[in-house]
Protein backbone atom coordinates (compact mmCIF):
# COMPACT_ATOMS: atom_id res chain seq x y z
CA UNK A 1 0.00 0.00 0.00
CA UNK A 2 1.38 3.40 -1.00
CA UNK A 3 0.74 6.66 0.78
CA UNK A 4 1.07 10.14 -0.72
CA UNK A 5 1.55 13.23 1.41
CA UNK A 6 0.59 16.29 -0.62
CA UNK A 7 2.81 19.34 -0.30
CA UNK A 8 1.46 22.79 -1.05
CA UNK A 9 3.46 26.00 -0.70
CA UNK A 10 2.92 26.66 3.00
CA UNK A 11 2.22 23.09 4.17
CA UNK A 12 3.98 22.59 7.49
CA UNK A 13 2.66 19.27 8.79
CA UNK A 14 3.80 17.29 5.76
CA UNK A 15 6.87 15.92 7.53
CA UNK A 16 4.77 14.92 10.56
CA UNK A 17 2.37 13.03 8.28
CA UNK A 18 5.22 11.32 6.46
CA UNK A 19 6.86 10.27 9.74
CA UNK A 20 3.55 9.11 11.19
CA UNK A 21 3.01 6.73 8.26
CA UNK A 22 6.63 5.56 8.38
CA UNK A 23 6.53 4.89 12.10
CA UNK A 24 3.02 3.50 12.58
CA UNK A 25 2.55 1.29 9.54
CA UNK A 26 5.93 1.31 7.78
CA UNK A 27 4.44 1.37 4.31
CA UNK A 28 5.95 3.27 1.35
CA UNK A 29 5.17 6.97 1.51
CA UNK A 30 6.10 9.83 -0.84
CA UNK A 31 5.85 13.58 -0.74
CA UNK A 32 3.81 14.71 -3.76
CA UNK A 33 4.11 18.33 -4.91
CA UNK A 34 0.94 20.32 -5.57
CA UNK A 35 1.69 20.49 -9.29
CA UNK A 36 1.53 16.70 -9.71
CA UNK A 37 -0.97 15.44 -12.26
CA UNK A 38 -0.94 11.72 -11.53
CA UNK A 39 -1.80 10.04 -8.24
CA UNK A 40 -2.57 6.64 -9.74
CA UNK A 41 0.35 5.02 -7.88
CA UNK A 42 -1.17 5.79 -4.47
CA UNK A 43 -3.81 4.10 -2.35
CA UNK A 44 -4.11 6.72 0.38
CA UNK A 45 -3.64 10.47 0.10
CA UNK A 46 -2.91 12.64 3.10
CA UNK A 47 -3.65 16.36 2.80
CA UNK A 48 -1.57 17.85 5.61
CA UNK A 49 -1.99 20.88 7.82
CA UNK A 50 -0.28 24.21 7.40
CA UNK A 51 -1.04 27.49 5.74
CA UNK A 52 -1.24 26.69 2.05
CA UNK A 53 -0.75 29.77 -0.12
CA UNK A 54 -0.51 31.79 3.10
CA UNK A 55 -4.22 31.19 3.72
CA UNK A 56 -4.76 34.18 1.44
CA UNK A 57 -8.38 34.94 0.53
CA UNK A 58 -9.63 32.03 2.71
CA UNK A 59 -7.99 28.94 4.17
CA UNK A 60 -7.72 26.36 1.42
CA UNK A 61 -9.40 28.52 -1.22
CA UNK A 62 -6.39 28.74 -3.52
CA UNK A 63 -4.97 25.25 -2.95
CA UNK A 64 -8.28 23.84 -4.01
CA UNK A 65 -7.39 24.80 -7.59
CA UNK A 66 -3.86 23.33 -7.52
CA UNK A 67 -3.38 20.78 -10.34
CA UNK A 68 -3.10 17.88 -7.89
CA UNK A 69 -6.60 18.53 -6.54
CA UNK A 70 -8.37 17.26 -9.64
CA UNK A 71 -6.42 14.03 -9.13
CA UNK A 72 -7.54 13.96 -5.50
CA UNK A 73 -11.15 14.26 -6.67
CA UNK A 74 -10.57 11.37 -9.07
CA UNK A 75 -9.01 9.28 -6.33
CA UNK A 76 -11.95 10.03 -4.04
CA UNK A 77 -14.30 8.83 -6.73
CA UNK A 78 -12.28 5.65 -7.12
CA UNK A 79 -12.78 4.97 -3.43
CA UNK A 80 -9.19 5.62 -2.38
CA UNK A 81 -8.62 6.86 1.15
CA UNK A 82 -8.25 10.63 1.50
CA UNK A 83 -7.44 12.12 4.89
CA UNK A 84 -7.38 15.90 5.28
CA UNK A 85 -5.99 17.26 8.52
CA UNK A 86 -6.46 20.87 9.67
CA UNK A 87 -5.61 22.97 6.59
CA UNK A 88 -6.17 19.73 4.66
CA UNK A 89 -9.73 19.63 6.04
CA UNK A 90 -10.24 23.24 4.96
CA UNK A 91 -8.97 22.38 1.48
CA UNK A 92 -11.33 19.38 1.19
CA UNK A 93 -14.36 21.50 2.12
CA UNK A 94 -13.32 24.25 -0.31
CA UNK A 95 -12.95 21.56 -2.98
CA UNK A 96 -16.47 20.34 -2.29
CA UNK A 97 -15.23 16.85 -1.38
CA UNK A 98 -16.72 17.41 2.08
CA UNK A 99 -19.70 19.60 2.97
CA UNK A 100 -19.61 22.79 5.07
CA UNK A 101 -16.91 25.38 5.73
CA UNK A 102 -14.40 26.30 8.44
CA UNK A 103 -14.73 29.74 10.03
CA UNK A 104 -12.66 31.70 12.52
CA UNK A 105 -12.71 30.31 16.03
CA UNK A 106 -15.56 31.77 18.01
CA UNK A 107 -13.17 32.51 20.89
CA UNK A 108 -11.09 34.69 18.49
CA UNK A 109 -8.05 32.78 19.76
CA UNK A 110 -5.63 30.51 18.00
CA UNK A 111 -6.11 27.32 20.01
CA UNK A 112 -3.08 25.07 20.40
CA UNK A 113 -3.44 22.31 22.99
CA UNK A 114 -4.53 18.71 23.51
CA UNK A 115 -8.19 18.07 22.92
CA UNK A 116 -10.38 15.18 23.94
CA UNK A 117 -12.35 13.73 21.04
CA UNK A 118 -15.18 11.30 21.05
CA UNK A 119 -15.19 8.68 18.31
CA UNK A 120 -18.75 8.90 17.01
CA UNK A 121 -18.35 6.69 13.96
CA UNK A 122 -15.86 3.81 14.19
CA UNK A 123 -17.02 2.23 10.96
CA UNK A 124 -14.95 4.35 8.58
CA UNK A 125 -11.73 3.05 7.01
CA UNK A 126 -9.91 5.53 9.27
CA UNK A 127 -11.47 4.70 12.62
CA UNK A 128 -12.14 0.97 12.80
CA UNK A 129 -9.38 0.45 15.37
CA UNK A 130 -11.26 2.67 17.81
CA UNK A 131 -14.42 1.69 19.62
CA UNK A 132 -17.64 3.64 19.33
CA UNK A 133 -17.82 6.38 21.94
CA UNK A 134 -14.13 6.01 22.81
CA UNK A 135 -12.46 9.16 24.08
CA UNK A 136 -9.06 9.92 22.61
CA UNK A 137 -6.52 12.70 23.12
CA UNK A 138 -5.43 14.44 19.91
CA UNK A 139 -3.84 17.90 19.76
CA UNK A 140 -5.35 20.84 17.91
CA UNK A 141 -3.59 23.91 16.51
CA UNK A 142 -5.80 26.26 14.53
CA UNK A 143 -7.32 29.71 14.32
CA UNK A 144 -10.03 28.77 11.85
CA UNK A 145 -11.45 25.43 12.89
CA UNK A 146 -14.99 26.48 13.61
CA UNK A 147 -16.97 24.01 11.51
CA UNK A 148 -20.13 25.37 9.93
CA UNK A 149 -22.93 23.86 7.91
CA UNK A 150 -26.60 24.72 7.62
CA UNK A 151 -29.34 22.83 9.47
CA UNK A 152 -30.24 20.69 6.49
CA UNK A 153 -26.65 19.59 5.93
CA UNK A 154 -26.23 18.86 9.63
CA UNK A 155 -29.28 16.64 9.54
CA UNK A 156 -27.86 14.82 6.54
CA UNK A 157 -24.54 14.35 8.31
CA UNK A 158 -26.39 12.83 11.24
CA UNK A 159 -28.69 10.65 9.16
CA UNK A 160 -25.80 9.26 7.13
CA UNK A 161 -23.48 8.79 10.09
CA UNK A 162 -20.91 11.19 8.62
CA UNK A 163 -19.94 12.83 11.91
CA UNK A 164 -16.80 10.91 12.82
CA UNK A 165 -15.30 12.86 15.75
CA UNK A 166 -16.77 15.40 18.16
CA UNK A 167 -15.00 17.53 20.79
CA UNK A 168 -15.70 16.86 24.46
CA UNK A 169 -14.94 20.51 25.16
CA UNK A 170 -15.68 22.44 21.97
CA UNK A 171 -12.61 24.71 21.51
CA UNK A 172 -13.73 26.72 18.48
CA UNK A 173 -17.52 26.99 18.32
CA UNK A 174 -18.07 24.24 15.75
CA UNK A 175 -21.66 23.34 14.96
CA UNK A 176 -22.71 20.28 17.01
CA UNK A 177 -19.16 20.03 18.49
CA UNK A 178 -17.95 18.59 15.18
CA UNK A 179 -14.21 17.87 14.99
CA UNK A 180 -14.21 15.61 11.94
CA UNK A 181 -16.56 14.39 9.23
CA UNK A 182 -16.46 12.00 6.31
CA UNK A 183 -18.20 11.90 2.96
CA UNK A 184 -21.21 9.68 2.46
CA UNK A 185 -19.14 6.80 1.16
CA UNK A 186 -16.73 7.09 4.10
CA UNK A 187 -13.48 7.17 2.10
CA UNK A 188 -12.84 10.91 2.50
CA UNK A 189 -12.30 12.20 6.02
CA UNK A 190 -11.51 15.71 7.20
CA UNK A 191 -10.65 16.73 10.75
CA UNK A 192 -9.17 19.75 12.51
CA UNK A 193 -7.19 17.86 15.23
CA UNK A 194 -3.80 16.38 14.31
CA UNK A 195 -3.62 12.57 14.66
CA UNK A 196 -0.14 12.63 13.07
CA UNK A 197 1.09 14.54 16.11
CA UNK A 198 -0.20 11.85 18.46
CA UNK A 199 1.66 8.73 17.40
CA UNK A 200 4.18 8.40 20.22
CA UNK A 201 4.07 8.74 23.99
CA UNK A 202 7.01 11.11 23.56
CA UNK A 203 4.57 13.48 21.86
CA UNK A 204 2.10 13.19 24.73
CA UNK A 205 -0.36 10.77 23.16
CA UNK A 206 -0.42 7.66 21.00
CA UNK A 207 -4.12 7.92 20.29
CA UNK A 208 -3.61 9.01 16.68
CA UNK A 209 -1.83 5.78 15.75
CA UNK A 210 -5.05 3.84 15.31
CA UNK A 211 -6.09 6.07 12.42
CA UNK A 212 -3.09 4.95 10.41
CA UNK A 213 -3.38 1.29 11.43
CA UNK A 214 -7.09 1.40 10.59
CA UNK A 215 -6.34 2.58 7.05
CA UNK A 216 -3.88 -0.23 6.43
CA UNK A 217 -6.18 -2.83 7.97
CA UNK A 218 -9.03 -1.73 5.69
CA UNK A 219 -6.76 -1.84 2.68
CA UNK A 220 -5.48 -5.31 3.57
CA UNK A 221 -9.01 -6.60 3.89
CA UNK A 222 -9.77 -5.61 0.33
CA UNK A 223 -6.38 -6.20 -1.28
CA UNK A 224 -5.13 -9.33 0.48
CA UNK A 225 -1.62 -9.48 1.83
CA UNK A 226 0.26 -6.31 2.54
CA UNK A 227 3.21 -6.10 4.82
CA UNK A 228 2.44 -4.64 8.19
CA UNK A 229 5.23 -3.98 10.59
Amino acid sequence: MRFAVLVFPGSNCDIDCYKAVEQTVGEPVDYVWHTATDLSAYDAILVPGGFSYGDYLRCGAISRFAPVMSEVAKAAEQGKFILGICNGFQILTEAGLLPGALRRNESMKFRCHDSVLKVVNNETPFTRHYSEGQEIVIPIAHGEGNYYCDEETLQQLRDRNQIVFTYSDNPNGSVADIAGICNERGNVLGMMPHPERAVSSLLGSEDGKAMFTSIIQTWRDTHGAASVR
Binding site: L57, A101, D150
Partner: protein, 81 residues
Protein backbone atom coordinates in the same frame (compact mmCIF):
# COMPACT_ATOMS: atom_id res chain seq x y z
CA UNK B 1 -11.08 48.47 -19.77
CA UNK B 2 -13.60 47.86 -17.01
CA UNK B 3 -13.02 48.04 -13.29
CA UNK B 4 -14.98 45.91 -10.84
CA UNK B 5 -15.34 46.47 -7.13
CA UNK B 6 -16.12 43.16 -5.45
CA UNK B 7 -17.51 43.01 -1.91
CA UNK B 8 -17.53 39.73 -0.01
CA UNK B 9 -19.40 39.66 3.31
CA UNK B 10 -20.14 36.99 5.86
CA UNK B 11 -23.78 35.87 5.81
CA UNK B 12 -25.92 37.42 8.53
CA UNK B 13 -26.65 34.00 10.02
CA UNK B 14 -22.93 33.31 10.48
CA UNK B 15 -20.98 34.69 13.43
CA UNK B 16 -18.17 37.11 12.55
CA UNK B 17 -15.63 36.92 15.42
CA UNK B 18 -13.40 39.54 13.75
CA UNK B 19 -16.29 41.98 13.67
CA UNK B 20 -17.19 41.20 17.29
CA UNK B 21 -13.58 41.89 18.37
CA UNK B 22 -13.44 45.23 16.57
CA UNK B 23 -16.86 46.20 17.90
CA UNK B 24 -15.61 45.41 21.42
CA UNK B 25 -12.56 47.62 20.83
CA UNK B 26 -14.76 50.51 19.69
CA UNK B 27 -16.95 50.08 22.76
CA UNK B 28 -13.93 50.18 25.05
CA UNK B 29 -12.84 53.39 23.29
CA UNK B 30 -16.16 54.96 24.17
CA UNK B 31 -18.07 54.48 20.93
CA UNK B 32 -21.06 52.93 22.66
CA UNK B 33 -23.35 53.75 19.75
CA UNK B 34 -21.87 50.90 17.66
CA UNK B 35 -24.72 48.41 17.53
CA UNK B 36 -23.00 45.88 15.36
CA UNK B 37 -19.97 45.64 13.11
CA UNK B 38 -19.15 43.12 10.46
CA UNK B 39 -15.92 42.76 8.50
CA UNK B 40 -15.86 41.79 4.86
CA UNK B 41 -13.44 41.83 1.95
CA UNK B 42 -13.11 44.42 -0.76
CA UNK B 43 -11.38 43.61 -4.02
CA UNK B 44 -10.60 45.68 -7.09
CA UNK B 45 -10.47 43.78 -10.31
CA UNK B 46 -9.41 45.32 -13.63
CA UNK B 47 -10.66 43.58 -16.73
CA UNK B 48 -9.28 44.07 -20.21
CA UNK B 49 -12.67 44.11 -21.86
CA UNK B 50 -15.36 46.69 -22.63
CA UNK B 51 -18.18 44.19 -22.87
CA UNK B 52 -20.19 44.79 -19.70
CA UNK B 53 -22.49 41.85 -20.11
CA UNK B 54 -19.62 39.46 -20.65
CA UNK B 55 -17.70 41.02 -17.74
CA UNK B 56 -20.66 40.57 -15.38
CA UNK B 57 -21.10 36.96 -16.35
CA UNK B 58 -17.40 36.25 -15.87
CA UNK B 59 -17.28 38.08 -12.53
CA UNK B 60 -20.20 36.03 -11.26
CA UNK B 61 -18.28 32.85 -12.03
CA UNK B 62 -15.12 34.26 -10.38
CA UNK B 63 -17.09 35.06 -7.24
CA UNK B 64 -18.86 31.72 -7.08
CA UNK B 65 -15.76 29.67 -7.80
CA UNK B 66 -13.05 31.46 -5.84
CA UNK B 67 -13.63 34.95 -4.45
CA UNK B 68 -16.47 33.98 -2.10
CA UNK B 69 -17.30 30.75 -0.31
CA UNK B 70 -21.05 30.75 -0.76
CA UNK B 71 -21.52 28.34 2.15
CA UNK B 72 -20.75 31.18 4.56
CA UNK B 73 -20.37 34.32 2.45
CA UNK B 74 -22.40 36.63 0.21
CA UNK B 75 -20.93 38.72 -2.59
CA UNK B 76 -21.85 41.64 -4.80
CA UNK B 77 -19.92 43.69 -7.32
CA UNK B 78 -20.09 47.02 -9.11
CA UNK B 79 -18.74 47.61 -12.60
CA UNK B 80 -17.17 50.94 -13.50
CA UNK B 81 -15.78 52.44 -16.67
Amino acid sequence: MLKAKVYVTIKQSVLDPQGVAVQGALHSMGFQEVESLRIGKYMEVELNTDDREEAEARLKVMCEKLLANTVVENYRFELEG
